[in-house]
């Protein structure tokens, strides 16, 4: 396999892994519900997206033909992540979770 492609794959996988790790740390560490919601949704979308692209490139190069499974995976990811984030946010609003900033704000 071409060194350039290998470097590209390595970069994509590392970037994806880093974003996923960051998202997980964010989920654990951020101060309130709404901030924590950003972790698994936004950053994970980017992280997993990078890995999916890496997978697509790898299998397209190593196996005959272009690998298209990953496009389906991406598609489903892009549908489910915003929808679940949306529903979680709505539920949080309903049960009156307060953002930190509002709690801190005096009066």
């Amino acid at each position: 396999m071409n060194i350039w492609i290998e470097s590209l794959l390595a970069f994509l996988i590392l970037a994806g892994a880093s974003f996923t790790l960051l998202g997980s740390i964010g989920l654990a560490r951020l101060p309130d519900f709404f901030m924590r919601l950003h972790g698994p949704t936004k950053t994970t979308t980017l992280g997993v997206g990078a890995m999916v692209i890496a997978s697509a490139i790898y299998f397209s190069v190593s196996d005959p033909g272009i690998s298209l499974h990953e496009i389906a995976a991406t598609l489903f990811l892009f549908i489910t992540a915003p929808v679940s984030a949306h529903l979680l946010a709505k539920a949080a609003l309903h049960i009156a979770q307060k953002p930190v900033s509002e709690e801190d704000r005096p009066g």
Partner: protein, 937 residues
């Protein structure tokens, strides 16, 4: 001896006609009670006519046996037999049956439709015929039980009367219980003899008598016979069964039902008799019953009760005669069966006429009827005289034979006195109660305060009595010419040996038996004359009311049974599971303790696959998930999520061990289960109180640890023990035999298709169960959650709905794809059904239940049925190609668009599986959705 004549087929045909005819009176009923009676009579007449051609064969000394193989491996064949004994009983059953049909038509009130009565009577008659025409003893027991059941229904014919129901239940408990003992006895007998065919059992008689099980067999068989024939101490059901309408008594309690017991004694006489145990037990019980019944009969004020006790006494006499086991006593016993049936049936019918005309059966009120109904009175008096053993009547002949045997018998004591004295006492008592019946009812002053004004009954009601009384006279005067042949044939068949020399005539010269008869007649009349003293004396004896005693025992047992049941079955699911687990633990522990071979083999250390880190993590996740679910079960939402984790890890494990079918199935099952559970959670209370005491938690922990540890050990033992599987066969045969390369699917739908059919049937039943439980249930969902927050009233998010709608065709396409490729690649009807289910659940979650409901079928049970019909139907198709059920066919096809495709007939079967799964999922979903409908509107 055994002959297969060209007419032998008539034998099973007659029995079939009788059983098939049971429904005729019910059908005829709507055209009037007369037609119902004619239908019943016709069925009996046709059955008799079918058998008559065979009688000539039987009389010439042959036995007709018709074997029809059914379950030969279990010794259960439909084997029929007609010999002399069977012929005698056939004539009694059908002949008296015909008279009873005629009699009942007039006896039962006009408002009764009679269809039910005649149907039951025919059922009983058919079962009796079955008993006497069975060659296979197991078949005989089956018919025996049918007589118990149908007599229960007949005795309780007047079911609105409490007395009738109690009496019927008592008769059923006693005779049915005896039937169970008989079944056990016959099974043992068949085991010892090596066959249940009567001919072979008779041939093995010596073997049976020498077997150590013989005493047990004898006891069990005698229990059956004695309960049925109302022998002491099981006699008490018979007097109470007089609550039955008189035609039933005349039929069941004179000629048939109670005679089944003595028939059994006669039938098994060649097999079981000839030992001391038989001699002593049978003759002693018979003798006690003979005297006890006669004594009790004297004190009945109810004349039907008097007849009942006299029946008990006469059955005791027959039993005693079979017990004595000399050839001549058997002839006398068979002869008395005939005579007793004739005079007792006519007496019961006469008693029924009197009851019918007077409205009461109390002999203290029914007096002097000779003036009011002279013809009936004369008939009844002749029959009663026969019962008493007056010369020139048939009862005299068999009684004389009995006296002769009593004198000649030398088995009991050296002085030869006990039996003759006993016989004479019984004779005296019989004369006394007969005298009481005649004198009290027909003479003895005038009737006292009768509810009705008695007069002669309708002409045709008396005809059956006239025929029977005529028979009494004919047999009494010309015995050899009238019943000589029948008696010789029947007695010969009973003995299964050459007949002794005997002479059927009235006058045997002056001998001891004649003296005994004279003493009995004179003594009986004298005893009756002294009746006032006797009755006073008898009143001082402690009374033994069998009816209340039995009823009390019955109630006591029923109460105890419900106490045990209330303890075991108190509606607590926890208790059921605890009991089940404890039983499994004890029984499994005992079994593995007894059979250590499994555990011996298991710990020898066959190699297992190496454990890697991923597997360890998966195992840890599963263990944590399970423990978490248990510990957090009070927080239901969390517990459900933890269950989901366990399920996901299990499906990953399947992936790891290359079982993609299982993984796919597990994943989709998991999704469906969790979603449905979450929906159900909505209706449960928000918080769960702590319900279990510490003690109970301890018990449960112990039980759970035991079961879990046991299962782990068993699994370990199974996985590590060397054993050969049939997997190789499946792997080799999958493509050539099943036409598919996905072995899992081929096993499911082809090799073990019957299993799958059973499984989807269970699934469909479970769905129907959910339907039954939830269909009419309406619950008020909680207004707010545990923290007091209101449920959201917002509409379903548009965002979600818009995104989910395009997913539906996509998901359905996936499920079709999975379904079609199932036979060769991972997939199949089950997974496809689950995928469809998930897709539809998603739609209803996104759009709301009412959104989904408007677009989906309303009723799912028909869909379940359709699925099962597909699966079973394709199985039936293979019958048309004369192949076994569920044989598959497969072939290679070229279809447009899809290209070359391997199609197997099992795809229809798989379609059935698919439909059942989809219907089950959607049914539960829609039932859960409907639960809170009432509140929404």
């Amino acid at each position: 001896m055994i002959e297969n004549s060209p007419y032998a087929f008539l034998l099973p045909l007659a029995l079939l006609t009788a059983f098939a005819g049971v429904l005729l009176p019910l059908l005829a009923e709507s055209h009037g009670r007369k037609l119902a009676a004619i239908a019943a009579g016709a069925v009996m007449a046709v059955s008799l006519a079918l058998l008559v051609p065979l009688f000539a064969l039987v009389v010439s000394g042959q036995t007709v046996v018709v074997p029809v193989e059914w379950l030969p491996d279990y010794g259960f064949n439909l084997a029929f037999r007609l010999d002399g004994l069977g012929m005698l009983f056939t004539i009694l059953i059908l002949g008296i049956g015909l008279l009873v049909v005629l009699y009942a038509y007039y006896y039962l009130p006009d408002k009764d439709k009679l269809g039910r009565f005649y149907a039951l009577l025919l059922l009983f008659m058919s079962a009796m015929l079955g008993i006497v025409l069975s060659e296979n003893l197991l078949m005989m027991v089956v018919f025996w039980e049918i007589t118990s059941l149908s007599s229960f229904l007949l005795i309780a014919y007047k079911s609105e009367a409490y007395e009738s129901r109690i009496a019927a239940r008592m008769a059923l408990v006693v005779t049915g219980g005896g039937g169970l003992a008989l079944l056990a006895g016959i099974i043992l007998l068949g085991q010892v003899a090596g066959s249940y065919e009567l001919s072979q059992v008779i041939a093995a008689a010596d073997l049976i008598k020498a077997d150590p099980l013989y005493p047990l067999i004898l006891t069990l068989v005698l229990l059956g016979a004695f309960t049925k024939s109302a022998q002491f101490p099981f006699h008490f059901w018979l007097p109470n069964a007089m609550a039955a309408p008189t035609p039933v008594s005349a039929y069941l309690h004179s000629a048939t039902m109670v005679k089944a017991g003595v028939f059994l004694l006669a039938r098994l006489y060649p097999v079981l008799s000839g030992t001391d145990a038989w001699l002593i037990s049978v003759s002693a019980i018979g003798a006690i019953t003979l005297v006890y019944g006669a004594y009790m009969a004297m004190y009945r004020d109810d004349f039907k009760g008097l007849l009942a006790y006299s029946t008990i006494s006469h059955l005791g006499l027959i039993t005693l005669l079979f017990g004595l086991s000399t050839p001549m006593s058997v002839v006398a016993g068979v002869f008395h069966i005939i005579n007793h049936a004739i005079f007792k049936a006519s007496l019961f019918m006469a008693a029924g006429i009197i009851d019918h005309e007077c409205g009461t059966r109390d002999m203290r009120r029914v007096n002097g009827l000779f003036k009011l109904m002279p013809i009936t009175a004369t008939l009844a008096m002749v029959a009663a005289a026969s019962m008493a053993g007056v010369p020139l009547l048939n009862g005299f002949l068999s009684k004389e034979m009995f006296f002769t045997e009593a004198v000649l018998f030398t088995g009991f004591d050296s002085s030869h006195l006990i039996l003759p004295v006993f016989a004479t006492i019984a004779g005296i008592l019989a004369v006394a109660y007969s005298a009481r019946f005649i004198h009290d009812v027909f003479f003895n002053g005038d009737p006292v305060d009768l509810p009705r004004q008695p007069h002669e009954p309708p002409r045709w009601m008396r005809v059956p009595v006239e025929i029977l009384v005529l028979l009494c006279l004919v047999v009494g005067m010309f015995p050899a010419r009238s019943v000589g042949t029948l008696l010789a044939t029947a007695a010969g068949a009973t003995l299964q040996a050459p007949l002794p020399a005997y002479d059927l005539k009235i006058w045997h010269g002056f001998n001891l038996a004649l003296v005994m008869s004279v003493v009995a007649l004179a003594g009986g009349v004298a005893l009756y004359a002294q009746r006032a003293t006797l009755i006073r004396w008898n009143d001082k004896l402690p009374s033994l009311n069998s009816k209340t005693g039995f009823e009390r025992l019955h109630r006591f047992m029923a109460a105890q049974a419900s106490r045990i049941l209330a303890w075991l079955d108190n509606g607590s699911l926890q208790r059921y599971i605890a009991l089940l687990c404890a039983f499994v633990l004890i029984y499994g522990g005992w079994a593995s303790y007894r059979n250590m071979s499994l555990s011996d083999a298991s710990f020898s250390g066959a190699s297992s696959s190496p454990i890697d880190i991923a597997a360890m993590i998966a195992l840890a996740a599963m263990a944590l998930g399970t423990i978490g679910t248990t510990l957090l079960h009070h927080r239901r939402l969390l517990a459900v999520i933890l269950i989901g984790i366990v399920g996901l890890v299990v499906s990953l494990t399947f992936v790891r061990f290359s079982a993609p079918d299982l993984a796919l199935t597990q994943l989709s099952v998991e999704v469906v289960t969790i979603v449905l559970m979450l929906l159900a959670l909505y209706y449960l209370p928000q918080t769960t109180p702590k319900e279990s005491s510490r003690l109970r938690v301890g018990r449960d922990v112990l039980l759970a640890a035991g079961i879990g540890g046991g299962m782990a050990l068993a699994t370990y033992a199974l996985l590590t023990s060397p054993f050969s599987t049939i997997s190789d066969f499946y792997l080799q045969q999958s493509v050539p035999g099943g036409g598919g390369s996905n072995v899992v699917n081929v096993i499911l739908v082809d090799f073990r298709g019957f299993d799958t059919l059973g499984e989807i049937a269970v699934l469909a039943m479970a769905a129907l169960g959910a339907h039954a439980l939830l269909d009419q249930l309406r619950l008020l969902p909680p207004k707010h959650d545990s923290a007091g927050r209101q449920w959201a009233q917002e509409p379903h998010p548009l965002f979600l709905r818009m995104l989910m709608q395009p997913l539906l065709p996509l998901a359905l396409a996936v499920s079709v794809y999975i379904f079609l490729r199932g036979h060769n690649l991972p997939g199949g009807g089950f997974v496809a059904g689950l995928v469809t289910g998930v897709a539809l659940i998603l739609q209803s979650l996104a759009g709301g239940l009412s959104f989904a409901e408007n677009r989906l079928p309303r009723s799912y049970p028909p869909l379940l049925g359709l699925g099962l019909a597909f699966a079973a139907g394709i199985g039936l198709v293979s019958w048309f190609f004369s192949r076994p059920f569920l044989t598959s066919a497969h072939g290679h096809f070229h279809l447009p668009l899809l290209g070359d495709i391997e199609l197997a007939s099992v795809i229809i079967f798989d379609l059935g599986v698919y439909l059942v799964v989809v219907a089950t999922v959607l049914l539960i979903l829609s039932e859960l959705g409907k639960l809170h409908k009432g509140e929404q509107t």
